[in-house]
């Protein structure tokens, strides 16, 4: 089980801020494929992953990064702080 979090418009499209997901995905990209296949709202959120960022256990990461040992995955658009 993995804690998956969504922020900003990714959260709004998917409709929840976070959820527990039971997955065998080996990489972030595989997890995205799995979610996209699940329901239209995921497909809408992940339509263009180049517009998204991903953090693994609260560290910025890449879509080809492995998920082994990861407890928390977060998807969000580029940050706009400051």
């Amino acid at each position: 089980m993995m804690n998956v979090m969504y922020f900003a418009w990714v959260r709004e499209r998917i409709g929840v801020p976070q959820e527990q997901i039971d997955t065998q995905a080996a990489t972030v990209a595989e997890l995205v494929q799995e979610l996209t296949a699940r329901e239209e709202r995921y497909a809408a959120a992940f339509a263009d992953v180049s517009a998204l960022r991903v953090a693994l256990d609260q560290e910025l990461s890449e879509f080809d990064a492995p998920l082994a040992g990861v407890r928390e995955v977060a998807f969000f658009p580029p940050m706009t702080g400051g």
Partner: protein, 146 residues
Amino acid sequence: MLIRVQSEVFDAGAELNAFAQGRHDVGAVVSFTGVVRDTQGDLQEMQIEHYPGMTEAAISAITQDAVTRWDLADALVIHRFGALKPGVPIMMVATAAAHRVAAFEAADFLMDYLKSRAPFWKKEIAADHATWVAAKDADEDALKRW
């Protein structure tokens, strides 16, 4: 090094004074205050979302990097989240160093990194629309300066 992520209003002047006082080894203090700007005159509020936990970790790492790189006497970062009205401070950064070049560069660096690497997202709420602020290519490009 002082880092605060909070929904409460803060007083930039009082923070600057508290940060700067009683340092005899410091010749230069630079502050940056980011303010909710009402570009079109129709902004009702700015909603700032963040990623609790990661926010503090990312700001700490960036700030520690600045302190080491510019040999700062101290650094301060305060960033708000929640719903903010036009004209109020969103965040502030302050740096203290022996000389002005280090204080300026470190504050500039902190702002560039906080803007694109600290997990905050801004949404503008106006009477007839609600829009997520888009990241600018210029902000990502700015990181290459450092």
